[in-house]
């Protein structure tokens, strides 16, 4: 697990460093560099495990960013005190994978998890969450039923209403996820499950693929999730990351999600532009600059604190003056 990251001369970053927690939440205005942070982590992580990954043969040189035509791009990660995990360097053509191919940046849509899917060999969960049924099917009926059982066990732990997870044949060669819930006679197709439940199942499936990603990067995690689910999702994500020794990073614009990090303020990363370059800091660091202890957190929860602008990471001023 990466515990510290430094990015130099990559996309919108000139030189930024930040600590990572097992599950980190990334906030900031649109265009601040949140997605670039995820890309940097993806590159770093891919490079670190490059020899173990089947896509190695497709590695390509990273495109130089227009901002840095002459500078060396470096992305470094640390695992505790173990020192540098990886340095990627655009002087070394073979060591840098193209940033244009998203591998582990998931923008999971609940709808992508619930449809009918063709049964294929060598299934993987795709960036939008599609392929979940394919992976579950290949685990269940391949020789990795142990992994399917682990997914089902974890799914039942996280969603206590679930009694059994299975797949139904909807037509020849096509299957759909279904669930038996406690107290219900009929099996529920995935389309009947809540969006949060589908996303949890997708995440568990991503983790329990035969070749699970070493990092899970989630764009706009709150998209499609009811805010009431956040309090429920955050501990699950944290638990998953800690159990598996991986990083999960999720971007959001939702203050309700930030509210859920009252006990782990180090885990909220604020991305913002200063003089055109993206910077990284944690909410915990920003709180050192203000007297947050002087207010009751119930009057001013962390999400409101961020939204109001006390800790940065908010959009630039919109000028409404006529003629402006």
């Amino acid at each position: 697990m990466i515990t510290k990251l430094r990015i130099q001369n990559f996309r919108s970053f000139v030189d930024a460093e930040v600590k990572l927690r097992p599950f980190s939440l990334v906030v900031g205005a649109n265009g601040s560099g949140k997605s670039n942070l995820l890309r940097a982590l993806e590159l770093l992580t891919f490079n670190y495990v490059i020899s173990e990954h089947p896509a190695m043969s497709h590695r390509r040189r990273i495109d130089k960013h227009i901002n840095f035509p002459h500078q060396r791009t470096t992305i470094k990660g640390w695992d505790g005190d173990l020192g540098s995990l990886c340095t990627t360097d655009d002087d070394n053509n073979e060591a840098f994978f193209s940033a244009s191919i998203p591998l582990w940046i998931y923008n999971v849509s609940a709808n992508s998890v619930s449809g009918f899917e063709n049964i294929i060999a060598s299934a993987v969960v795709n960036a939008d969450g599609s392929g979940t049924a394919q992976v579950l099917e290949s685990l269940k009926n391949g020789d990795r039923e142990d992994l399917f059982d682990k997914i089902e066990e974890a799914f039942k732990r996280y969603v206590p209403e679930v009694e059994k997870l299975s797949l139904r044949t909807v037509e020849q060669g096509k299957k759909q996820i279904q669930v038996r819930e406690k107290g219900l006679k009929e099996l529920l197709p995935a389309t009947e499950l809540s969006e949060g439940t589908r996303i949890i199942l997708c995440l568990l499936t991503i983790l329990h693929q035969e070749k699970p990603p070493p990092i899970i990067l989630l764009e706009d995690i709150d998209s499609g999730l009811h805010p009431r689910l956040f309090e429920y999702m955050v501990p699950i994500m944290r638990d998953i990351a800690e159990r598996h020794g991986i990083n999960i990073l999720a971007t959001t614009h939702n203050p309700y999600l930030v509210d859920c990090f009252q006990d782990d303020k180090e885990a909220v990363i604020i991305v913002e532009k200063k003089d055109g370059a993206s910077t990284l800091t944690t909410l915990a660091d920003r709180l050192k600059d203000i007297d947050y202890d002087s207010v009751d957190p119930e009057d001013l929860p962390l999400g409101s604190l961020w939204f109001t602008g006390h800790v940065g990471g908010v959009p630039a001023k919109i000028n409404l003056r006529p003629g402006k």
Binding site: P255, D291, S304, G309, R321
Partner: protein, 219 residues
């Protein structure tokens, strides 16, 4: 170098309005590159906590800074405003129980920055319109109009209850009507109000006078 202006308010429209009034009263031009925005639906406790947190940035400073602060919170019929109104028949219990907002904010400033306003490291003004910002907008547009309504919208439960089910148009409703009649956007209406003659409006609205007097004290 222009002075920095921090405004704690509910939105860009309010911010534009208060900033323009500050420019006109003080004759200064400000850099307003950092803004503080109350979350929609924030209650008074949240607004007070935000105000306290914003002011706490300056409480340990001793030298005068090139910073000015406007804290804008609607009075929302809270009793005890020195420029406020008394309503008959009695308002909701919820309104009667509200803390005096202007007074509480002024107390907080003194506790944080000291009793002597002249020694404060930053200039501060409290914008606490009686009853909401639209009250000041309407007064500026026409200081001679009849007494303004007390509520935000006629559709609100409190307005319907107060007026026994048949409330006349309330403050936001009137602003919308005037904007529509003048073929203006709300931005344009607020801007026009902020550009209006201040003197008669200040005479007509004691809460606006308090704000303007505090702006006049800025150095």
């Amino acid at each position: 170098m222009a002075k920095h202006l921090y405004i704690l308010s509910e939105g860009e429209l309010d911010e534009m309005f208060y900033e323009r009034l500050a420019e006109r009263v003080t004759g200064q031009v400000f850099q307003s590159d950092q803004e503080f925005r109350l979350r929609l639906g924030s209650n008074w406790k949240s607004a007070m906590a935000n105000a306290r947190l914003l002011i706490s940035r300056f409480k340990h400073w001793t030298a005068k800074q090139d910073i000015a602060v406007i804290i804008a919170v609607d009075n929302d019929r809270a009793p005890g405003h020195p420029g406020g109104r008394v309503y008959q028949p009695p308002l909701f219990k919820a309104d009667q129980r509200k803390e005096p907002r202007y007074t509480k904010l002024a107390e907080m400033l003194k506790t944080s920055l000291g009793e002597d306003r002249a020694a404060w490291p930053v200039d501060v003004s409290l914008a606490v319109p009686v009853e909401i910002i639209e009250s000041w907008v309407l007064t500026l547009l026409d200081p001679n109009r009849d007494e303004l309504p007390a509520f935000s919208e006629a559709e609100s439960h409190s307005a319907r209850n107060y007026h026994e089910g048949k409330p006349p148009p309330q403050l936001k409703d009137i602003c919308k009507q005037e904007a529509k009649a003048g073929n203006q956007s709300m931005d344009e209406l607020f801007w026009k109000a902020a550009e209006s003659d201040l003197a008669p409006a200040v005479e007509a609205a004691p809460s606006l006078k308090l704000f303007v007097d505090e702006l006049k004290a800025w150095t």
